[in-house]
């Protein structure tokens, strides 16, 4: 009887084809297999772990805008295709994803939605490749403030630490004057953003209200679950005010744990990242009178276009937009406008269009409710920054005061000079 070979040629071919297909699917379909007509935008972001909401809210905002564009006929029938990949918040993975976008997927542009650490990794990749890149999440100022890492093809649509610091300090100075606050402590997550935020806030506060005393600083690790040692320090020192750039679940935990000690009865809290729907609705018994910047709230700017944006997003996704959502929305709006204007995806022409462009936006507070991409550092300005106090129910904030952009840009110049970046 003929011996049947266990490893027949047919079986081997079948198996290797299946493995090849699996690898292809896992690494993403190469451009050649997709509709080549589409305008492809690569989005490296975080879709898993503790900050998955970052990637999800950015993706939602981008999809909302792109669906509108595609449904209106696209660019002469060409649709925008989003390719969103998870870097799991790892810088080396973000860089790898970005390189794949450029080399395998042949994207026309990248919308970077990574946190600060990974954003610097993405910056290096796009600087080298010359691919158009819009940063929409990282708030560390250095990403665009440091001229040594700037590139003609990179634009920033995310808010900056230094802008928020000046806005925050200006507001804090009015509260200092009103309530006679003299002593401060700070609690900031121990990584680039937290350090940057602490540095810039107190630097700016010194300009507006000199003479305060810093009693101590707490540097909990990001995602630390227990803030006892920091809170006991605050309870012991009894500062008049606390500044914190903790965010998300960390900020919720800190406020809940500090409330057990009765900290907020005699101490004013300035939490730059509190006024975010997800955060405010998660704090148990949100105390009234905490101070926060307006990350994203439908009530600010108090315009119909902003309320419409909130409504469109909420109707579609059942959740309010986040700060990351508006940044992505403004970024994709600029990109789509550029594509329509130049009639294509030539990166150099898009960059020329975007650079210095002033555009009406639901988050704009410039003349005619506009935002602007500043020419020298290709970063967004004239976006809404406000500070106010919390209330326990929707809209969660009141007494909102707008930051003044002339003051922000003036002090920003001084800060850049101090840093040797101007």
């Amino acid at each position: 009887m003929k011996k049947i070979n266990k490893y027949s040629r047919r079986k081997i071919l079948k198996t290797t084809s299946a493995i090849a297909a699996a690898i292809t699917i896992n690494s993403g379909f190469p451009a050649i297999l997709r509709a080549d007509n589409n305008i492809k935008i690569g989005v490296p972001t975080i879709l898993s772990g503790r900050v998955a909401q970052l990637g999800i809210s950015v993706s939602n905002a981008l999809k909302m805008a792109i669906n509108n564009f595609n449904n209106a006929g696209g660019l002469d029938g060409r649709n925008i295709e989003l390719i969103i990949r998870d870097s799991r918040a790892k810088p080396d993975e973000a860089a790898r994803v970005c390189r794949n976008f450029i080399n395998s997927d042949k994207v026309d542009a990248i919308i970077n939605a990574e946190a600060s650490g990974a954003s610097f990794a993405v910056q290096e990749v796009v600087r080298e490749s010359g691919t158009l890149c819009l940063h929409t999440v990282s708030e560390t100022s250095r990403l665009t403030a440091d001229p040594s890492i700037r590139a003609w093809n990179v634009f920033r649509f995310s808010r900056q630490g230094i802008h928020d610091a000046v806005g925050s300090a200006r507001y804090a100075a009015t509260v200092i004057k009103e309530k006679g606050l003299k002593t401060w402590m700070s609690v900031n997550p121990d990584y680039a953003y937290g350090r940057d935020s602490d540095d810039t806030f107190f630097w700016a506060l010194e300009k507006f209200a000199p003479g305060f005393e810093i009693l101590g600083k707490g540097w909990p690790k990001i995602f630390q679950p227990d803030y006892t040692e920091v809170i006991t320090q605050i309870a012991r020192e009894k500062p008049d005010a606390i500044y914190t750039s903790l965010w998300g679940g960390d900020l919720v935990s800190f406020i809940d744990q500090a409330a057990l000690y009765g900290i907020f009865k005699n101490t004013q809290l300035f939490a730059i990242n509190l006024a975010d729907y997800t955060t405010m609705s998660a704090v148990k018994n949100l105390p009234s009178g905490l101070h926060s910047a307006t990350r994203y709230v439908a009530a600010w700017p108090n315009t119909e276009s902003n309320r419409n944006y909130d409504k469109s997003y909420t109707d579609l996704y059942g959740d309010h937009p986040t700060n990351w959502s508006w940044e992505a929305s403004v970024g994709i709006d600029y990109l789509i406008s550029a594509i329509k204007e130049i009639g294509g995806t030539d990166n150099k022409k898009i960059a020329e269009y975007i650079k210095g462009k002033q555009k009406e936006s639901f988050m704009g507070v410039g003349e005619g409710n506009t935002v602007r991409i500043r020419e020298n550092d290709q970063t967004i300005v004239d976006y809404s920054i406000g500070w106010g106090t919390t209330i326990p129910e929707d809209p969660y904030m009141n007494n909102i005061q707008a930051a003044n952009w002339s003051t922000i840009e003036e002090l920003e110049k001084e800060w850049l000079t101090d840093k040797g970046w101007l």
């Binding site: 879709l47 898993s48 772990g49 503790r50 998955a52 909401q53 999800i56 101590g216 600083k217 707490g218 540097w219 690790k221 995602f223 630390q224 679950p225 227990d226 006892t228 040692e229 920091v230 809170i231 006991t232 320090q233 309870a235 012991r236 998300g248 679940g249 960390d250 919720v252 935990s253 809940d256 744990q257 057990l260 000690y261 009765g262 997800t278 609705s281 998660a282 704090v283 148990k284």
Partner: protein, 300 residues
């Protein structure tokens, strides 16, 4: 380094009391989780890297029960029991396959489970962090003032609960038949099998108990902060440090080490606020150098 601030704190009753209370609270919560880890290692010889994921499950289970019933006690107990049952299934279906396997295989299995559970909780409960289960109403009162030290009553409750758990564990391990069998299994499981004892039941029971403790830690943690996927990652590192310092497999060692770590973090934040985590690792290194088997571990 602010050594004078530390000295000042020690000689000031308010500071000494508040930092000690804070340190005890940190330590006791850590003990709940670490005791389960060291128990599993001591008896089964398995380094359960997924222990932090079980802690996370305890937080989620308790959140779910709290949102359905609004009853804090029920939420915490359900969280712990739920994870205990999950741990039993985990042991029976997966862990028992790798008891004698290479350490790398055990690590890979546990890491896979961590990744699966991290994603599973997001699929079931959403990707956004959840507001914790909160402090029970009876403890939503102004804090106590003891010589000007501020101590929330709920923290005292956590310390007491954890100490009761420690006492119960000691009683179970030293005064009950089950405890004797567990200790015997740790020493010589084959001899025990030869005497007709079903060691599989003992091992499953130990893993279930260890998981219960992790779940209890997670449920109590959910009362103090938010619940989110991946929250077990921070506690597992500290749990391993406690296990190493206390002695692998020693529950009394885990108790002592947890208190040491809690105090180190609490007073360390006064003396070296930028190096609080580093102090923990420094203690671990010192113990490894001077007493490698751990403070209460047995020399091989």
């Amino acid at each position: 380094m602010e050594i004078f601030a530390l000295f000042d704190c020690i000689i000031t009753p308010a500071c000494l009391i508040s930092q000690t209370a804070g340190g005890l609270k940190i330590g006791m919560l850590l003990f709940l989780v670490a005791s389960g880890l060291t128990l599993v290692f001591g008896v089964l010889g398995v380094i359960n890297f997924a222990h932090g994921a079980l802690y996370m499950l305890g937080a989620y289970f308790s959140w779910q029960v709290m949102s359905l019933t609004g009853h804090f006690g029920l939420a915490v107990i359900s969280g712990a029991i739920g994870v205990g049952i999950f741990g039993l299934l985990f042991e029976r279906l997966l862990i028992n396959k790798v008891y004698n396997a290479d350490l790398l295989v055990q690590i890979l299995l546990c890491y896979s489970v961590i990744l699966i559970l991290d994603d599973l909780v997001m699929i079931i409960w959403g990707d956004e962090f959840l507001s914790g289960i909160g402090v029970p109403e009876v403890f939503q009162v102004p804090p106590l003032f003891i010589f000007d030290a501020i101590i929330p009553p709920f923290h005292i409750a956590i310390i007491v609960i954890s100490m009761i758990v420690a006492l119960l564990l000691w009683i179970i391990m030293t005064k009950t038949k089950f405890g004797k069998l567990v200790r015997a299994t740790a020493v010589n499981p084959r001899m025990l099998e030869a005497l007709g004892v079903n060691t599989n039941v003992i091992k499953a029971g130990v893993f279930m108990l260890g998981s219960f403790l992790a779940g209890l830690g997670g449920a109590l943690a959910a009362s103090l902060g938010s619940v989110v996927s991946g929250m077990g990652n921070s506690i597992i590192i500290e749990s391993f440090i406690v296990t190493v310092i206390g002695g692998m497999g020693s529950i009394s060692g885990a108790f002592l080490a947890s208190i040491i770590i809690g105090m180190a973090r609490s007073f360390g934040a006064v003396a070296m606020p930028l190096f609080t985590d580093g102090i923990m690792f420094l203690i671990m290194v010192l113990v490894l150098v001077m007493k490698p088997e751990g403070l209460m571990g047995k020399k091989k």
